[in-house]
């Protein structure tokens, strides 16, 4: 009477990972049904990094701001707040005179430029 051979298995079922609740965002199903394409995430990350480096490069440099209604002003770039809602500038030259320090609302700024030396 031959001894029955137990069916072989490739491995055991995987169990929970530590204290993680799972539902990995990198799983094919998650990516297909809920995920942003990985390429788009990479592009967003690159653009964000470039923008932040641009803000860093502007610091301390004379900058020309083009605002709405065709108004243009010049100032020395200071800093941006976390959400880029406002720029802090020094020596803002306005038709009414020079402001030692000022805040420009980013929603009012259409474009700004500065020279790299």
């Amino acid at each position: 009477m031959p001894v029955p051979v137990p069916v072989g298995v490739l491995r055991l079922p995987r169990g929970p990972e530590g204290s993680s609740r799972g539902f990995s965002p990198t799983s094919p199903r998650f990516q297909a049904l809920l995920g942003e394409p990985v390429a788009a995430q990479g592009v967003r990350a690159t653009l964000r990094e470039r923008y932040l480096r641009g803000l860093g490069a502007a610091r301390g440099r004379p900058t020309r701001f083009c605002l709405r209604a065709g108004v243009c002003v010049e100032a020395v770039f200071g800093a941006a707040d976390v959400g880029a809602m406002a720029f802090q500038v020094d020596a803002l030259r306005t038709p009414l005179g020079v402001q030692a320090a000022a805040l420009l609302r980013c929603t009012d700024v259409l474009a700004y430029s500065f020279l790299l030396d």
Partner: protein, 335 residues
């Protein structure tokens, strides 16, 4: 060559597993959800038992769990007096539905737009998931706590079981169509759409009834008290498990006992065939789920048919995540 069943044990739960359900077949395979007294239902890949995630949020034992057909949504019924609907891809909790007592059973309609709940307050509730804030339709009539509530007849009817009765309701009129008195406490109920068959277990009996008329088609007696039974999709066989910790497989046509397996360390509370019928899952008081092959020795999922004549390797430790070595749980066998 005679092959012996090797069940796959899925660990992770810390308390008894009281309910389990499979999804339909999706482009990503099929999925399995398990309800546990530890309050943390889990989602697993259906053909391998691999853990995918745990639905966190319930504050009490989870008594019932289900998935919609394409496994994009899950629903759970718990002792914290709520039923919850979850996104089964992200694991996020979507909706919490407050009840007045322990909720025992949940079931989606085929279009996933409505959720049926039933529990200890003896009421059936139908929620429109597109308007979760709205009051549900309530169906009353049961005289003891509802253990299981299922949509039937293309979601036009409802089947519900309490301690000693099984009732059929018309959804549009919300009235009872038929009632069936059962000799002993109903332990489980399964609805098979193809053929409109209702599988009921009570005492040591596994009974098959017409889902439309509730007339009995046939019944089998098991050697021990049965807590759950499931009919194979092709209706060739059925599996059942209960208080003696064993799983039984019967021929549906003849009632002959084909196979029986020991393996669990506690009573079996739930057993279900996968949607393709290739395996069945059992949930037990011992806190584990086990996956069993319908055709022992067939290559499927994690089971690999070993070629006769070759030695089977026995690793000292569990294989690593990346290695796919074939091994068995008994000492080396030389053909």
């Amino acid at each position: 060559m005679a092959m012996r069943q090797t069940p796959l044990t899925c660990s992770g739960h810390t308390r008894p597993v009281v309910d389990l359900a499979f999804s339909g077949v999706t482009p990503y395979g099929y999925f399995l959800i398990s309800a546990c007294k530890d309050g943390k239902p889990m989602l697993r890949q259906g053909d391998t038992g691999d853990w995918i995630g745990t639905f966190l949020g319930h504050k009490g034992a989870v008594w019932g769990a289900t998935l919609n057909t394409d496994a994009t949504k899950a629903a759970t019924a718990a002792a914290d007096f709520t039923a919850k609907v979850w996104d089964a891809v992200s694991g996020d909790e979507l909706i919490t539905l407050a009840h007045k007592h322990i909720v025992k059973s949940v079931d989606f309609t085929q279009d996933s737009n409505y959720l049926l709940t039933g529990g200890q307050d003896k009421l059936l509730r139908i929620y429109d998931l597109s308007k979760p804030e709205a009051e549900p339709d309530v169906v009353s009539g049961h005289t003891s706590g509802i253990k299981k509530a299922l949509w039937s007849s293309d979601d036009k009817q409802i089947l519900s079981a309490d301690d000693k009765t099984v009732r059929l309701w018309d959804r549009s009129t919300m009235t009872e169509v038929k009632a069936l008195n059962v000799a002993m406490s109903v332990s489980s109920m399964e609805y098979v759409p193809e053929g409109q068959i209702l599988v009921i277990t009570y005492g040591k009996t596994i009974a098959f009834h017409s889902a439309e008329t509730l007339e009995q088609i046939k019944s089998f007696e098991a050697p021990a008290t049965i807590n759950s039974a499931s009919l194979h999709p092709a209706k060739e066989c059925l599996v059942a498990g209960g208080e003696d910790f064993k799983l039984y497989k019967y021929d549906y046509n003849t009632g002959e006992e084909l196979e029986s397996y020991k393996g669990h360390f506690g009573p079996i509370h739930c057993v279900r065939f996968s949607p393709d019928g290739e395996l069945y899952a059992s949930g037990s008081e011992d806190g584990t789920l086990r996956l069993w092959q319908t055709t022992v020795g067939k290559t499927y999922g994690l089971w690999k048919c070993v070629v006769p004549g070759k030695c089977v390797l026995v690793p000292e430790d569990l294989p690593s995540e990346n290695s796919d070595s074939v091994y068995s749980s008994t000492p080396e066998v030389k053909a």
